[in-house]
Symmetry: C2
């Protein structure tokens, strides 16, 4: 370390601000959270022109309807999102990089292409896409939240790959016509449901700045909440796409493994394959997720990433479900399990209310909902935690050690302040077997629901809280089982917004007798929300 | 150990013979190999009726054409194969169990079903299928070649699962209408390209009894060679389906992982997931493999095995390739890479001749063949060997230790006589990364062949020797890279027969200067074939 980590971190934080043009700087003091709790919506709009508001409050599909038909230029769209993202960052510190000139230059080439050929370059022509600061993109650096990665390539200097090497997913999106303009903040190592690093600090929720924006794709969540991006790319090994989607009222997809390319994207504890992280989109509408996935699969990612399965988008399956959900076939209805609680923790009141809203909506639409009583999720969680600890935190502590920065508290809660003993091959094998058996037991349970539904078919999907929390204050997100169980099972899962917490409605039952400390912590979590 | 391992092993060997009815016993002394080198074909036929020969020399698809239309009874077919397998075992010791009564009883229920419903119970109605003695099947035990597994369930007594528990693959085949009648011999642990155990001894090749039948699905190979089975199920982690297919002149499929159910099938070093073993069929014709795979996929195995991918048989792909291979579209031709040698070992003369025969056949059919020059296979092999050694042989030595039997020499060659130190989590992670990078490099190479073909498309497949050997004397199969590279890459691969060794044609070049000891060993391997 030639420089103090704080100097490097401050330099980086300053460079992000400096990358914002003078005329986009907020020359006001940002009011504190208790004066201005919510900086989304109207509050954000005051800093923008009407045209910018129109563009940035259009979803990805809507934007593409304009950019692929020449109605909006890529430059105008890119500039509007750059501006809004720049404001978003000044309000919440949600970015770890912004590169407006690179983005606008790229947008100009797209406009020139459209002008010359009178057609879009691809299905994502001129769509700005934000990237979790884990993806490599040409023209920017990747920190993954570590001070020690600043000015390096994955912690190494002089590799020649700096600002040049690109993740396969990013290259694919680029070929489809997307424009990149910013990297969003993450907790170092990504192994946290909250977002805090030593570069830009703790990420608060733009909707309620007393609370966490979630993590680890927290910067994406906050930026989308502020409409500083129409679509962002995140990753998820225990809920890292879905938790910030849930906390920020946006949509997030955690596909099963082997569906989208992770190739050339760095990760923590790379090579740990028992519970694999996946990449996935987050967006302000559901149709945007669908559109992005279809576009990405059209690139045949299996030709560029050996971990991706050769499996195109299956239109016939999508259409069949769509028809059933629209009741086009009168006798055919969908059926759903509903997980009202797992075996350890009762979700907090607002989450319970949201689940009941979903159940009612499904039943009102004519679908069947049955109780979901699967094998204990606590057993599944143990498998994930074991996998996350295989190498005792060596990789993570090495990365913190690069700069000498202190270990962020919600990382040290799991990984301590130095590596612990590694697992042996036979421990890992035993955990793989446990995971396979758990998946088998769960699959058998799923099949058994055929005995419970009117159709005599097993349920089509199950509904579950993403998180037991309606929100969390900093450093209080402890219970991850609701999201992590999906990673253990390797199911596809989509997080979608249902409602907001309402303190007057979602009243904590003071008489509730918690079954265990985790249950108590969750049941009381809303109690301490600031007004 | 209450009993000496030899007593237990001899008891088991005797029980197999005793399970053969008196009138099927060969009351002749089996001539030694130098008197009767080849016991297939005519030699085998002398022990059978003309009707039995007709049935047993019909392939699986042909048999099913008869059994699913009522032309042949399941009983007659089953009995014929039981008889031929019983003879095969007496000639070669290729079985570890035969259960004729169970099989005939099952066949009778199938005949009764057909009689009552005038239709088959499923697409495999009445088809006898042999099982590598790794699969569990109701009514029989599984030894996996270990003396210590005799009279137990996977080495444990009193589990209640003995002779009752069944592998998912077997249950699926049973539901499709298949009949089970025997278990075929394997090397203990299955981690060998040869088949030798302390129960029934060394498995020689029925075509040339001086040579090895290959392994680890060697019993399947020998039984198929002798036409004691129309289809057998094997497993493959480094060539264990393809090597015995190659040595016995039959077809064998190693599908990619996640295609067929391994659920409820025991394995060595279970939980090692870097290089996964797969299950697959071996058969006397190519169309039999196709038929079995289609039938198995029709069972939707992903509903019963969480490791199986939801991916039905893709008719459109099969038809497209079929059409191209038949030159129906005149301009569309297939293109192939041909691996004439890897970076370490030149295949022996008969293998080189077989490869040239395939190349000529493809070119004569109008297809294009280009040289296959991939990333060095030796690097790939290192990754597999590392994965096989993760836990230092602990599982294997524990299993040998159950009975105190000595470690078979071609197992101890790799695993020694006691466990060695296990690998740590970060070693395993590093190997997983190496494997991913190797796959990526190979994939990029494959894509690059688009620059070399006339069509401008990358090759459709590549042709490679399964083994550098035309055959091996016992304990001399040393070089496994040709088959194992496929497991490292996780490609689908089919072994098919091309020709036989001909000492007059496949002359060893005495002037050949071997590049290394492995190369020398292979180049000279045919030299020492007995006449």
């Amino acid at each position: 370390m030639s420089q103090n980590f704080e100097t490097i971190a401050k330099g980086k934080a300053k460079a992000i601000l400096n990358a914002i043009p003078e005329h986009w700087r907020l020359n006001i003091a940002i009011p504190p959270a208790d004066k201005q709790r919510d900086v989304t919506g109207k509050y954000m709009q005051q800093f923008l022109t009407a045209g910018e508001v129109e563009i940035t409050e259009t979803d990805a599909v809507g934007i593409l309807e304009h950019t692929t038909t020449g109605k909006w230029s890529a430059r105008d769209v890119t500039e509007a999102f750059c501006h809004r993202a720049a404001i978003a960052h000044q309000l919440t510190n949600c970015l770890l990089d912004i590169f407006i000139d690179v983005a606008l230059e790229h947008a100009d080439t797209l406009d020139a292409y459209y002008h010359e050929h009178n057609k879009p370059i691809g299905p994502l022509h001129g769509l700005p896409i934000s990237l979790k600061d884990q993806f490599h993109v040409r023209g920017a650096e990747t920190t993954m939240g570590y001070v020690g990665w600043i000015g390096t390539f994955e912690g190494q200097k002089g590799t020649g790959k700096e600002r040049h090497f690109e993740s396969q997913l990013v290259t694919d999106l680029r070929q489809l016509g997307a424009v990149f303009y910013c990297k969003t903040t993450v907790p170092p190592s990504l192994m946290s449901p909250e977002t805090h690093n030593n570069i830009v600090g703790y990420l608060f929720n733009p909707k309620n700045r007393h609370l966490s924006a979630g993590g680890s794709s927290g910067g994406e969540g906050a930026l989308l909440s502020l409409r500083g991006s129409p679509v962002g790319m995140g990753t998820d090994i225990g809920g890292s796409i879905r938790i910030p989607s849930s906390f920020n009222g946006v949509y997030g997809l955690r596909s099963s493994t082997g569906r989208l390319p992770y190739e050339r994207t760095p990760n923590s504890m790379d090579g740990q394959e028992s519970i694999l992280s996946v990449v996935g989109p987050m967006a302000t509408t559901l149709r945007s997720l669908t559109f992005i996935i279809k576009a990405l699969l059209s690139m045949q990612p299996w030709l560029h990433d050996p971990m991706v399965i050769e499996l195109p988008w299956r239109d016939e399956q999508a259409s069949r479900l769509q028809a059933m959900s629209e009741k086009l076939g009168s006798s055919e209805k969908l059926s759903f399990g509903v997980l009202r609680r797992d075996d350890v923790v009762l979700p907090s009141p607002p989450v319970r209310r949201a689940i009941e809203m979903v159940v009612k909506a499904l039943e009102n639409a004519g679908h069947e909902v049955i109780e979901w009583k699967p094998p204990p999720h606590s057993r599944g969680l143990d498998i994930a935690v074991e996998a996350w600890m295989y190498e005792g935190g060596e990789d993570i502590h090495n990365a913190f050690g690069l700069s000498g920065e202190p270990v962020i508290s919600h990382i040290s809660r799991r990984y301590g302040n130095k590596p612990v003993e590694q697992k042996r091959a036979s421990d890992i094998a035993a955990n793989n077997i446990a995971r396979r058996k758990y998946r088998k037991e769960y699959l058998d349970y799923w099949n058994s629901t055929a005995n419970l539904t009117h159709s005599g078919q097993s349920v089509d999907a199950f509904i579950s809280p993403v998180s037991p929390y309606g929100g969390t204050r900093p450093n209080t997100y402890h219970y991850v089982t609701y999201s992590t169980i999906i990673n253990v099972l390797d199911y596809s899962s989509v997080a979608f917004p249902v409602t907001h917490v309402d303190k007057n409605v979602d009243v904590v039952d003071d008489g509730y007798v918690a079954a265990n400390p985790a249950d108590k912590q969750v049941s009381e979590s809303c109690k301490y929300f600031p007004n």
